[in-house]
């Protein structure tokens, strides 16, 4: 009988075989298009559709020439705003909801959980449509609702005005996706052993102190993960704005974000011809922005987070 150490392990072929399909799909539909996009950004196109190399010209145009840079910076600014609103509202509300849901005194918590998570699973197009109807000054119920609570004078065509369109769209998006941070934080909360809370109670802590000193530190890794997910999703966002405001993201591009700018550039819009090469440049910049954001997160946030072995 051979001992364990005598057996030379054969090359683990089965791992390769099992990885292959996934890897192959990932390489062909994700890595290759990404690399090809990076390549395409260095080219330009003439009338006949032939492409030729132009180096950094597209990027120089995007960042510095007035025709392109104005929409680009505008879209970036709006996108940041979109992200900030999500960070300020979506995650704190998600945390609050998770805390409420995890309260042992709450009845029907399963029902609430499902209801709150529901919008996340709806199609963005439906969400856009429903909210447009709700907020419509013509048919919507928001106006009556606001009159009933005495705020009728503040009702306005929020989705149609330059000052409010982006904020309104951000709030709709927050409403739709608040279920995700809620569920993730809720799951993390359930993982915190009761003993810790009990120990806190024995030491004389009130529930605010328990939250602040015990639960929140334990939730931080989850919250920071949720934040980076929000960041990536927000800078990739497109559907809601397109569904509600169209590719021109009006009025006066006040709700234009990187996704809609990319769409207009790449596919063209109405009489504007699409330019795959310029579109690729916009897509590359989106990729870089997300990459930088994630890198900052990894170096400055992720490394400092302390994980507690529970």
């Amino acid at each position: 009988m051979m001992t364990h150490s005598d057996i030379r392990k054969p090359f683990p072929w089965h791992i390769l075989v099992f990885l292959a399909p996934g890897l192959l799909i990932y390489l062909t539909v994700s890595v290759y298009p990404l690399l090809d996009t990076l390549r395409l950004g260095f080219f330009s196109e003439d009338k006949s559709g032939a492409t030729f190399f132009v180096g950094m010209q597209n990027y120089a145009n995007l960042l510095f020439s007035e025709v392109w840079s104005e929409p680009f910076w505008n879209a970036l600014k709006n996108n940041l705003m979109f992200f900030v609103i999500h960070m300020l509202l979506q995650n704190p509300i998600g945390l609050l909801l998770a805390l409420l849901l995890s309260s042992p005194r709450l009845r029907l918590s399963g029902t609430y959980r499902t209801l709150l998570f529901m919008p996340t699973m709806l199609s963005v197009v439906i969400v856009g449509f429903v909210w447009q109807l709700l907020l419509s000054p013509l048919w919507g119920i928001s106006e009556d609702f606001m009159y009933n609570i005495g705020l009728g004078d503040y009702f306005d065509a929020w989705l149609g005005k330059e000052g409010t369109a982006l904020v309104t769209l951000s709030l709709i998006s927050v409403w739709q996706f608040v279920g995700i941070p809620m569920m993730l934080i809720y799951a993390a909360l359930l993982n915190i052993p009761e003993d810790l809370n009990d120990a806190g109670v024995v030491d004389g802590a009130n529930s605010w102190q328990i939250f602040w000193n015990i639960k929140l530190p334990l939730l931080l890794p989850t919250i920071s993960m949720v934040s980076i997910l929000t960041f990536v999703a927000n800078f990739n966002a497109f559907e809601l704005i397109y569904a509600v405001k169209g590719a021109l993201a009006g009025p006066n591009f006040s709700s234009d974000i990187m996704g809609t700018l990319f769409y207009r550039t790449f596919f063209g819009f109405q009489l504007q011809q699409g330019s795959p090469t310029m579109g690729a440049a916009v897509a590359t910049l989106m990729f870089l922005i997300i990459l930088i954001g994630v890198a900052i997160y990894l170096f400055f946030v992720q490394r400092r987070i302390q994980r507690f072995q529970l």
Binding site: A157, E162, A247, L248, Q272
Partner: protein
Amino acid sequence: MSFLTIKGAFRHMAKIGVGVFALATLTAEAGDKLVIESWRNDDAKVWNDVIIPAFNKSHPDIKVTFSPTPPADYNSALQAKLQAGTAGDLITCRPFDVSLALYQKGNLEKLNDLEGMNNFPDVAKTAWSTDDGKDVFCLPMASVIHGYIYNKEIFKELGLSVPKTESDFFKVLEKIKDESRYTPLVMGTADQWEAATMGFQNVGPNYWKGEEGPKALIDGKEKLTDPEYVKVWEHLAKWKPFLGRGYQAQKYADSQNLFTLGRGAIYPAGSWDITTFNEQADFQFGAFPPPTPDGQKTCYISDHTDIGIGLNAASANKKEARIFLSWMAGSEFAELYANQLPGFFPLGNHKISIKDPVASEFLSWRGQCEQTIRNSYQILSRGTPNMENQLWNVTVQVLNGSMEPKAAAEEVEKGLKTWYQPHM
């Protein structure tokens, strides 16, 4: 699942696979099935129930499928399909530069020698000809006319008559606003295109004198900052008090609903709206052309070559496609199309009777007024920024009251200056 059943399942799947493969080769061999790409998904019923069966009466061996994409996605979807080689045989053409670009890329076949092409006057063909006018690449299908549609019952109730001049027009609007709860002018700015298309291009031709305007803009003889253009935006700025509450968030479909529910009096229209209104409105409605500026004798209307149809250069069924196109160039198609889709007016020389009263009202203006096309469609929207998109943007801002008419003119002129030689 036991091993045996898995094996059985595999065998089953193999059988289905063979079947699918056989079916695929069969359809490929059949070969004479024409597919029409279009953005007019509203028209699918008419094509499937009327037009294609009419064609099949004389050509039973050619199968035709109408396969539309929603309007907003059409250009991009078509471009992607053409690149991938999966586009249909017949391609519905947008006017001017969008289709010209397809022709220059070699996606559309030259149609100079198509049988029936000589039924169309040059004016009709310009939208789908090269800049020098030598080559035609789409068969003209229809034009749309702009004007106003009004609710006859509201006009009667308030004792109003159809306005002829600009000051009449605003007096009528004042009266509706003061004496009733109806929305005087039914239009929103949320979708942006209505502002430019039903506002700017509708009102404008009277100021820039029809065809003279676009020509002078293309030659660089006129600028958008000239008074005849600023006046258009000044006119539109006066619309603001007459638009419904919250019009900034009112979409095109909202406007259509508002009008068909009888809650509004005047609707800045494109003739294509007639079909929708015929179906939905249960009151009498009529149409009037854009009122002329006070003292001006000649009236001008926007009679826009809007829709054509071309042949995919990569089509495997060119012979059948040409037969179909030649049939479309004939009077049978023109008669069917014009009466099935009132508001789309044939561009050929055929004598056609249009039965719909409002559509024939629109058409009658061709006899009284000079016609022109939308001024941003030819050449001027080729570069970036694109004049059409800029017109959408600034006209919405003028209507929303966030931009002065003069500033709107300056903004569009500035855009044109950046890329269009005659304006530099």
